[in-house]
Amino acid sequence: MNKQTLIDYILHLADTTLILSQRNSEWCAHGPILEQDIAITNISLDLLGQSRYLYQYAAALLNESADKTNIHSEDSLAYMRTEREFKNLLLTELPKGDWAQTVLRQFLFSVYQYLLFEQLQKSKDEQLAAIAQKSIKETTYHLKWSSDWVIRLGDGTDESHARMNKAIEMLWEYTGELFIPVDYEIESAKEGIGTDTASLKQHWIQKVKDVFEEATLQFPKDRFMQTGGKQGTHTENLGYMLAEMQSLQRTYPGAEW
């Protein structure tokens, strides 16, 4: 497998966690109650930490190249790449919406991330395996917390139940992409480095069904699924988000606190 394929795979994982972290962080000081404001921002911080390990690893691999004029770092990868270069899952870039959409997205993602890290812990790539072993402990909390919230809102009041149904309607078509691997995923899985995400699908459906049942929510029927995020074709949301997130480094390149 060539090195660029591995770098693309790592960047896909890094971008996905960074973008979800950034979205969740929009709740900072706007959470429904103090404890949950703290919870969602803590999750955000965990995801940011995970993306930092991945960007640092990708930067180290990029810096092995003979071209010494362009030195990469975790910051340059997060702040200086364009929308079309980002390989995050579409699900993570969607607006935070209301609390129902935020907790549902976190739940759908955490189930996926847990299954992914469970496999990635066995990666032949030692650094990816170490990152997965470290991160899965945090994902376990995210999954527990978000499952509780899906159940609480689904099996709550008429209003909260209706909002969860609306959230499912809005997010569902972005879940298909999780299990449709692109070239760098297929190649890295073949080498025993990455994970074949298609193989996670049945486990994911089962876990989501179990929680939906407890939450008195209907598991949706098959429908059209959006794809493209992993290859840089995004919804309009990502551009606005990056414009804000990257504005300082683009205006004052290399600025530090």
Binding site: E35, Q36, I38, A39, N42, I43, S44, L45, D46, L47, L48, G49, Q50, R52, Y53, E126, Q127, A129, A130, I131, Q133, K134, S135, K137, E138, Y141, K144, W145
Partner: protein, 158 residues
């Protein structure tokens, strides 16, 4: 030339505390994984607690400053992820200090399956309830004692 024996350096590292929970030293936390002496250069290998924990950057800086203060000029700090940090590496002394400070210490990971509730650090009652899985820092959860009514932090078993 300062004393470069491991014993001496480890005793200096005992003076470095967690910036968020100042009763714990970094040795109590179990984040020092290795100490390597290359002549005059001291290499400290540490492992992060939680991925996004902002205290990690502060701790690296504090280690460096503390060693410089004691005359060690060449200090290298490296971070390893594997094996992943666990609260099982926290010292017994650290757990005792946490409780005295008002934070319920983590149980052992092997006991966690039983879903035992942490005992109240104030009155020792085990009649407690979870208020929030996420507390003021990534490593803590918020509980309340049903007997003495005191809310308290629990250092999560990780």
């Amino acid at each position: 030339m300062p004393d470069t024996s491991k014993q001496k350096i480890l005793s200096i590292l005992d003076e470095v505390c967690d910036p968020e929970i100042p009763v714990l030293t970094i040795s109590d936390l179990g984040i020092i994984r290795e100490l390597i002496i290359h002549g005059e250069e001291i290499e400290i290998v540490i492992t992060p607690t939680y991925s996004g924990c902002p205290a990690m950057d502060a701790i690296s800086m504090d280690i460096r400053l503390k060693l410089i203060e004691h005359g060690y000029k060449k200090v290298k700090i490296t971070s390893v992820l594997s094996p992943a940090w666990t609260t099982d590496w926290m010292s017994a002394d650290g757990k005792r200090k946490l409780k005295e400070y008002g934070i319920a210490p983590p149980g052992n990971r092997s006991d966690e399956a039983s879903d035992r509730l942490p005992a109240c650090p104030q009155c020792n009652s085990t009649n407690t309830k979870l208020l929030s899985q996420f507390g003021s820092t990534a490593c803590k959860a918020l509980y309340q004692c049903n007997d003495c009514k005191e809310p308290f932090d629990y250092f999560k078993c990780h």
